[in-house]
């Protein structure tokens, strides 16, 4: 599933429902809500910080065996990834919770970013429904 979304808050609900639908259709029933929230947080970061020149956010979902992969990219200003990933955010911090939620919900998260944009690659393993 591939979607290009306008860089606006109104896109988040549409993106979340698309991710949930894709995940459930591919058997990721227990993971769907987690994956959708992680995707929403990554998209929200673009809206709040990246300001892509083409006003566009790219969302891609792939079902690969027992894992679901979500990639979110933009052509915005980028940021220093080392400052936000794998760094514990104090509970009362004013920002940084979005990345923390993504890392907590997903099994693997890789973020690459430079002046030409950012790619967030996220994976979640399938857990059998008990």
């Amino acid at each position: 599933m591939v979607a290009d979304l306008s860089c606006a808050k109104k896109s988040l609900i549409r993106a979340r429902s698309k991710v949930i639908k894709f995940a459930e259709e591919h058997g990721f029933l227990k993971e769907a809500e987690d994956v959708a929230l992680a995707a929403q947080e990554a998209l929200k970061n673009i809206i709040q910080h990246a300001c892509p020149a083409d006003y566009n956010m790219h969302l891609e979902c792939i079902a690969d065996g027992d894992r679901i992969i979500v990639e979110i990219s933009d052509t915005g200003v980028g940021f220093d990834v080392s400052g936000v990933t794998n760094t514990p955010t104090p509970p009362m911090a004013s920002h940084g919770r979005g990345i923390q939620i993504i890392e907590g919900l997903m099994d693997e998260v890789r973020i690459t970013s430079d002046q030409e944009g950012t790619l967030v690659h996220m994976e979640k393993m399938h857990k059998p429904v008990s």
């Binding site: 808050k9 609900i13 929200k44 939620i101 907590g104």
Partner: protein, 126 residues
């Protein structure tokens, strides 16, 4: 989103219904912070009917917590939905906030007892 506000023996019980996220946080903040105003208020945020929360929603809860604390007020939270509690735990707010599984427990904890019967509480102890 609907937000219900009820006073119980000095505590304002604020109960948002629906999703607490980037879309609804402005309304939620407006209602709660206007309620808080310049006066000290004790609050119970009953999130038992919140169906979804994102980092913006968590941010609003922290802002309200800080406002109430700085005014010398008391604040407690009701979180019944395991999905919502999971997000609290992801950002370690379960270690900072006083969280109860239902409104009855929260009211009992803060000392509000007037006529409120927590059936689940009593059934747990029979």
């Amino acid at each position: 989103m609907e937000i219900e506000v009820e006073e119980k023996e000095g505590y304002q019980v604020v109960s948002p219904v629906g999703e607490l996220d980037i879309y609804t946080v402005p309304l939620f903040r407006k209602v709660v912070l206007r309620l808080e105003g310049d006066r000290r208020h004790d609050l119970i945020l009953d999130l038992s009917r919140v169906t979804f929360i994102d980092s913006s929603g968590m941010g609003s809860l922290i802002e309200i917590f800080q406002k109430v604390q700085s005014a010398g007020g008391d604040i407690a939270y009701v979180v019944a939905n395991p999905r919502i509690l999971k997000v609290f735990k992801l950002v370690d707010l379960d270690e900072v906030f006083r969280i109860y599984p239902n409104l009855g427990r929260a009211l009992q904890s803060v000392g509000v007892t007037g006529g409120y019967v927590d059936e689940e509480f009593f059934s747990d102890n029979t």
